[in-house]
């Protein structure tokens, strides 16, 4: 009996491992053929994507750069806001305010991405068009704003946990030595929590680079080289928008799998970095 239960738990545990292996193997197998046909350099560094044209072009450099710029932009806006919110919540805010803001953050985390996309499409895109006086608001900038909001909850929550784990003695010592509370937070608490905060940033990167639905609705999806007010296509949206129509076995479909493989490698890299930071923070 004991053994049977042990076996069941082992199987349940292996389900996850099996899924990861299955997806990895499937992606590699279905992603390699197109890269071999197109050529790795042509595929990664080609500037033109026209998958259904008479002379198809399969260059994904615009998608790669867009994903990098979009994620960097979201981090640039989202991290300062999220980090400051976490400092405020853990050190300054009163219990009532803290409870309220934390509830709001949790709610924000629970909003489905299609809703972000819809609100972005109805409010943000026309808003950007009016504020910046450009012909159309669907752009890299709109995607960055949406992504920055979407990564806020994970950044706030992880930084908050890291900041709250800083031993109170450190802060007491700093205060006793005559530092003001604000000096204490930024000179003592934040440095002590820095690997946790770094982990929060990497987690935000992972969330931003993998998002598809919301940005598909606000980024315009034209395969242009990225510019801030230009319509752009991300790695994720490139796969999502064409997959449903690509014919089975066509080079287009294979190329979409290759894009997914590139995206997968990106996310693997980010995970490796995340693990590095988490390990680091445990050791400290």
């Amino acid at each position: 009996m004991e053994n049977a239960i042990y076996g069941i738990f082992l199987i349940l545990g292996l389900i996850t491992v099996g899924c990861v292996l299955l997806i990895t193997i499937y992606l590699v197998i279905s992603g390699i053929p197109a890269i071999r046909k197109i050529g790795l350099l042509h595929f990664l560094l080609g500037k033109e994507w026209a998958s259904t044209a008479q002379q198809p072009q399969y260059g994904i450099l615009p998608f790669i750069l867009t994903s990098i710029y979009g994620t960097a932009g979201a981090i640039f806006i989202g991290v300062p806001i999220g980090f400051m919110t976490a400092v405020y919540l853990s050190k300054i805010a009163g219990q009532k305010v803290k409870g309220m803001i934390e509830t709001a953050v949790s709610l924000l985390a629970g909003i489905p991405s299609v809703v972000y996309g819809l609100v972005g499409m109805m409010v943000l895109v026309p808003g950007i068009r009016l504020i910046f006086r450009i012909p159309d608001g669907a752009s890299l900038f709109a995607a960055i704003v949406v992504l920055a909001i979407m990564i806020l909850p994970s950044i706030i929550k992880v930084s908050l946990t890291a900041l709250e784990a800083v031993p109170k003695e450190y802060e007491d010592a700093s205060l006793a030595l005559g530092a003001t509370p604000i000096e204490t937070y930024f000179r003592v608490s934040v440095p002590a929590a820095k690997s946790g905060i770094a982990a929060a940033v990497v987690l935000g990167v992972g969330r931003a680079i993998g998002e598809a639905m919301a940005i598909m609705m606000v980024a315009g999806n034209a395969p242009n080289m990225p510019e801030i007010f230009q319509s752009v296509r991300f790695l994720t949206t490139a796969v999502a928008s064409e997959m449903s129509y690509a014919a089975e076995g066509s080079l287009q479909k294979q190329a979409l799998f290759s894009i997914a493989l590139v995206l997968f490698l990106f996310i693997m890299m980010i995970n490796a970095v995340l693990n590095f930071f988490l390990k680091h923070s445990k050791e400290n």
Binding site: A53, M122, V125, D136, A138, G220, N221, A247
Partner: protein, 268 residues
């Protein structure tokens, strides 16, 4: 442990056997092809299954070209194409039967003063040769081109009719008709295209050479931005009994209402 695995396997085998049996009754109709015809053929297939219990209807959305190949190679009963057959395809022994017509409306923001355009101007706009509304009698606003993603049947239809294949300078490539309409409704400089039946009051349809897109003008051919929904069958090989029944049903006048409610204009 072994017993557990054994049970799981027998359950799986049993399930596979039982679903296998279910398919045997009543015969099957398999269709393959145009993604634009999804709504129409889906609604017809559903109605056919309801009227004939035990019949299985399948539809594989692969695109017109693949559908025609599939029927030529005998991999499906009826091929679906949203363009007329080419001469060389007819020479392969394929027959086309027009099931319905699909009008593609060219839409602009309701605030746009432009009401009418000719096909050449539309092509010029989509190729990026005309970039401001004032060049075509509108206000001084940059034209924002809204289109569909590569592979979409509506995009394919629109580009082939206007002769702008691979030349469109899209500002936005959206993944659904609804998104196109919402975007055009929200931007005074936008122009887009959408299947006639899906167009709502939030946007304005342009007339082409003075012809307003309606079900009638699509049917009599005077509205030119339209394409046929074609059923492709083999000329010499007879359809199976069930497939023939389905073919007769969808080309009969009884199916007209279903075709209209799915957004196309029935021809029978």
């Amino acid at each position: 442990m072994k017993k557990f695995i054994g049970t799981m396997i027998s359950v799986a085998v049993l399930a596979a056997v039982m679903t296998g049996c279910g398919k045997e009754d009543g015969g099957t109709v398999s269709t393959d092809g145009s993604t634009s015809m999804e709504k129409v053929i889906g609604a017809l297939g559903e109605a056919f299954e309801q009227n004939n219990s035990g019949v299985t209807f399948t539809y594989n959305p692969t695109g017109s070209g693949s559908g025609i190949t599939a029927v030529a190679e005998g991999r499906c009963d009826i091929g679906l194409s949203s363009r007329n057959l080419k001469e060389e395809e007819k020479l392969q022994g394929l027959t086309e039967t027009i099931l319905a017509l699909d009008g593609i409306a060219v839409i602009v923001n309701p605030d746009n003063p432009v009401n009418d355009m000719d096909l050449g101007t539309i092509a010029g706009i989509y190729k990026g040769e005309i970039t401001n509304w004032k060049e075509v009698g509108g206000s001084d606003l940059e034209i924002v081109l809204i289109g569909r993603e590569a592979g979409s049947g509506t995009r394919d239809g629109f580009e082939s009719i206007t002769g702008t294949e691979d030349a469109c300078q899209y500002r936005q490539e959206l993944t659904s008709t609804g998104d196109v309409i919402t975007t055009v409704a929200g931007n005074p400089g936008a122009i887009g295209y959408a299947s006639l039946a899906s167009v709502k009051d939030t946007v304005k349809m342009l007339s082409i050479d003075g012809i307003v897109p309606t079900e009638e003008s699509v049917k009599d051919g005077s509205y030119v931005v339209q394409r046929p929904f074609v059923l492709v069958t083999k000329s010499e090989k007879k359809l199976s009994e069930t497939a023939q029944k389905f073919f007769d049903y969808i080309t009969s006048s009884d199916a007209g209402d279903i075709i209209s409610s799915a957004g196309a204009v029935p021809v029978n």
